[in-house]
Symmetry: C2
Subunit: 183 residues, 2 copies
């Protein structure tokens, strides 16, 4: 049931269409939640049926019309209640690390390449997040309450990301010591 609440959370400040959601979702909450557009569209329908969301069609010039969703009072209430539910998932699933348990002379260079690729993705993402932090969240104590929460999410992502970069460097260094038989 958590995707529903993640979506509603994304709609607290702005009304968004499914397309916009699936685009922005990844950019803003991507560190903590991922969902495909198919999932998002289906969840939006369900939430609208429960009348946690309302929707209206917006015509756009030059682009197809979009269906924009917004939180209803009932949706806001449900979201506020949900915060008190017991939290379950700190759902860790990282294939790459499992692959590392299988490190060998043969696959070392492949794994190094995979780590390097992910390292670069992370650099990209961190750059965006860091800009955001500097611009809007430089004095966390002075922020309004809810923004403090958003700030904490932001630095959670940044911290995780920086830690990941440091780990990548160490990993690449150690893997380099594995006598790589070129395959």
């Amino acid at each position: 049931m958590a995707l529903a609440h993640a979506i509603m959370t994304a709609l607290i400040d702005d009304d968004l269409s499914g397309y916009e959601l699936s685009r922005d979702f990844e950019a803003s909450m991507g560190f903590f939640w991922h969902a495909s557009h198919q999932q998002i569209y289906q969840e939006l329908h369900k939430l609208a049926e429960k009348s946690f969301l309302n929707n209206r069609e917006v015509s756009q010039s030059g682009k197809p019309n979009k269906i924009v969703y917004g939180l209803t009072k009932a949706g806001r209430d449900a979201l506020a209640e949900w915060v008190y539910d017991t939290t379950k998932n700190q759902n860790a699933k990282d294939e790459l690390v499992i692959k590392l348990y299988n490190l060998s002379e043969e696959n070392a260079s492949h794994l190094a390449a995979e780590i390097d690729a992910r390292r670069q993705d992370m650099m990209q993402r961190l750059y965006t997040f860091e800009k955001l932090r500097v611009k809007h969240y430089n004095e966390p104590q002075l922020l309004p309450t809810r923004s403090k929460g958003v700030y904490l999410a932001l630095i959670r992502g940044l911290g995780q990301g920086q830690q990941f970069l440091a780990w990548c460097d160490e990993a690449l260094e150690l893997i380099a010591t594995v006598s790589g038989k070129s395959k």
Copy 2:
């Protein structure tokens, strides 16, 4: 398909029963993968059917018999190949952070309590992992190749965990500045 490979990875060195797997899994690879016993039993059956695993019943005195699974040659080969597949999921799903986006005067103390609880779980886990690192992985350069990979997984977990603890401290501090109306 990744659970299958996580299970096979856990069986590289030791033959284990489903029960042992679901117990040890959490302890060793829990940072990177979680699976319930129901899932594990089902996956074991599937893997045995594909003959990636073999199994034998072991009688135990005083305890019910257990069915112990081991990797076959075919299983080892499939695992080795899988390492070259493109990696997808760095499946991040963290409800607690999503909840933080909903921080308010009212729920601040609840969220602080949740963070504190998770902080303590992590301390516990880190303690175990740190002992392991000191005992067996103090000189990573000298390890045999595969152990280097295991070491990298280990320090990935440790690094993540330590970063999490630091974040918890910062989060608790900031949330404390939210004027908590007692609810």
